[in-house]
């Protein structure tokens, strides 16, 4: 008989195989296994993220779906997190790595896993990198889409380089893209001269300072009254989180910067993966209501100075106007942020854009890289 049960250490090998078959080796026949080096990476990953995370709670385990033959045919990774709703604790279960063996999809393994997850004891179920199929499934089971938090913004810093970058890795077009880089550099310089307000980054008036885990914890605590729903960290969990995302070097080097005004007060901060010659991705961006412009300007200048061609990140709804005023454009659609809660106040906070839910609070730290 099929059954859903908590994920335990002994399941790692089977879940690794399943993950590898579904995501990395889809075209490879099932009996094949990942290479030993990759297997070790999988073991480290599943252990560290799902069994040894700082929020580990036996009441909120990751889940596996077992077929009649005892073989694992589905997995749903769960990471408990803590938030505050108007100062009151909220238990969050973040789901990621929702994997189902293609042969078991018709048997309802995915629906069963998700149902079991959503009926857990948490106040809020959340996933923030869902595709269209998952969205349909969540909404069918009573969840909803946090549309505002499914919007990404992008700010072009070197526009022609950005356009040409889309042709990289596309056969003959890739050669053309490489050859046109000097021309793009000239064009970008010309655009910066022609439209300085849009494409020329000037040295910001505020100053930035490297932010460590303690500093970030202090900042998060200081700014915690600015939204109804706010993440809660302690020293250990935040250090674990920063260490985990710093390991994801494929995205670039993680930069953590606190922004000070002339009175040396913190007016905001940002964390982002700096990708010289590519798209830099923001992990968290927080600012005081009237200082968002200065924080954004500092971020754009920092990324531009270090060679990025564009910066992008998840929309912070209260700052939508500031992003727009600084010539950012938005992309909507998958990956979606999906939520499920029986507490209407939590849902309202998402729908009106009154939650701090940056990628730092999301699945980013649960990615297998």
């Amino acid at each position: 008989m099929n059954r859903i049960r908590p994920f335990v250490e002994d399941d790692i090998e089977q879940v690794s195989d399943l993950h590898w078959r579904v995501f990395d080796g889809a075209s490879i026949p099932a009996p094949q296994k990942p290479a030993s080096e990759l297997r070790q990476s999988y073991t480290d990953y599943f252990e560290r993220v799902f069994l040894r995370n700082p929020w580990r709670d036996d009441a909120l385990p990751s889940l596996v779906h077992e077929g009649t033959d005892g073989r694992i045919t589905g997995f749903l990774g769960v990471l408990p997190r803590r938030m505050l709703l108007d100062g009151m604790p909220v238990c969050v279960a973040l789901s990621s790595q929702f994997i189902v063996d293609p042969n078991s999809r018709a048997l309802g393994a995915g629906v069963g896993l998700l149902k079991a997850f959503l009926t857990g004891p948490q106040d809020l179920s959340l996933t923030d990198e869902a595709n269209n199929a998952s969205r349909k499934l969540w909404e069918g089971l009573g969840g909803s889409t946090a549309l505002l938090y499914s919007v990404q913004w992008t700010r072009l810093l070197r526009p022609s380089r950005f356009v040409v970058s889309h042709f990289e890795g596309r056969g003959a077009l890739s050669l053309l893209a490489s050859a046109s880089k000097p021309l793009c550099n000239l064009l970008d310089a010309a655009l910066a001269r022609k439209s300085p307000h849009r494409f020329r980054q000037t040295e910001p008036k505020v100053s930035g300072e490297e932010l460590n885990a303690d500093g970030l914890l202090a900042c998060l605590s200081e700014f915690s009254g600015s939204r109804s729903l706010w993440p809660e960290y302690d020293e250990y969990s935040l250090k674990w989180l920063l260490e985990t995302i710093t390991r994801q070097t494929r995205r670039g080097a993680l930069r953590k910067v606190a922004i000070h005004n002339s009175r040396w007060e913190v007016i905001g901060w940002y964390l982002y993966y700096l990708n010289p010659r590519g798209l830099s991705q923001v992990v968290q961006l927080v600012a005081k209501k009237n200082s968002i412009g200065e924080v954004l300007d500092h971020l754009f200048y920092d990324a531009w100075l270090n060679g990025s061609i564009a910066v992008s990140g998840r929309l912070e709804p209260p700052f939508m106007q500031a992003f727009s005023d600084r010539h950012c454009y938005f992309n909507c659609g998958q990956p979606w942020m999906l939520i499920h809660s029986h507490n209407p106040d939590i849902l309202r906070a998402f729908h009106r854009g009154d939650a701090l839910l940056s990628p730092l609070e999301g699945e980013m730290c649960m990615r297998f890289t």
Binding site: L147, S150, F330, C332, G333
Partner: protein
Amino acid sequence: MKESARIKPVRSFTREDIPQVADMLQRLLLPEAPSGRMLSASELPGYLEQTFFDNPWYDESLPSLVFQASSGKLIGFLALAPRKMLFQNLPVRAVISLHFMVEPESRSTLAGVQLLKALFSGPQDLVFTDGAGLLGRRIWEGVGGVTSHLYSQRWMRILRPARQAVSTLSKHGASGGSKLFSYTTQVLSPLVSLADITAARMLPRYFSKVTSPYSEEELEVKTVLTYLPQFSKGLALRPVYDEHSLQWLFNQAAQMKLYGVFKKVQLRDEQGEVAGWYLYYLKRGGLGSVIQIAARKNSEGEVIDHLFDHARRGGATALSGRLEPRFMQELADRGCFFNRIGCLMLMQSNNAEIPNAIHRGDAFLTQLEGEWCVTP
């Protein structure tokens, strides 16, 4: 008691106020350039009379408001256009607020705040504006209104990339007085067309003709009346029309030639069933503006594809519209990008559930339901 103490400065807008309000409108709100508006100064009194006293939803209990100084002079105005809607299948009274203006020398009197406070204490269930600026937002939020971030976004779809790029650059060139640029773009026009043909060949998913499973015809009022309840089913907040009110809106929209030719298209499937419709302004060689898209379940993508193809065939270089959250996925999947340029949607209600529904995108609230069709 002194005379001034007995007169309430905020009162209902009457027909006798039309000349003064028309003058304020002309001076304070409408762009000076003739190309930026539809009506001349002499036509404004007629517009005010028709739109705010002779509209199909006219309701004496929901009048537009004026702020009258103790001297008798009108120094502030707030226009209201009532609409009928359903919230969770029960009738609600909505009002669109527009033309919020106060004489510059009187702004320190808080006339604007008092006008809004009077509006918010009215008998309606929902008041909203979808044409607000940043200053209006500050005042609304200060008096208890909220911003809908979702409905304040717009989408844009490029249909002819090279022509659209030239059109955008031309505007910059024109504003900078660059005749050379304008001349160059004219000379290079065949090359621009060639670039668009190449783009269509290289990126057929985005720029090529789409073979639609639907046949098109002119949208009829009775189609909307018949199918709107079905196409908006499941949404918490939705509009209610009758033949007279919808025809009035269509007539208003058709007069707004500044935005292009008003197109009303309904689509039928092979069985002759209505799959959806769209309303938009087609601008040959320019940016078209979409007013409303409606589609039956699971036909949303095909209706949007048809719209893009229709505009492309008509010579538009791009299309833009206000984000309708229920189509967010379909628009994103079809290469649209989004921005927050232009007007904001602000709202206020004493029933907190109504703004909550709008916040979560659970409303059929297109530009046809907004102030678009009642602006001069």
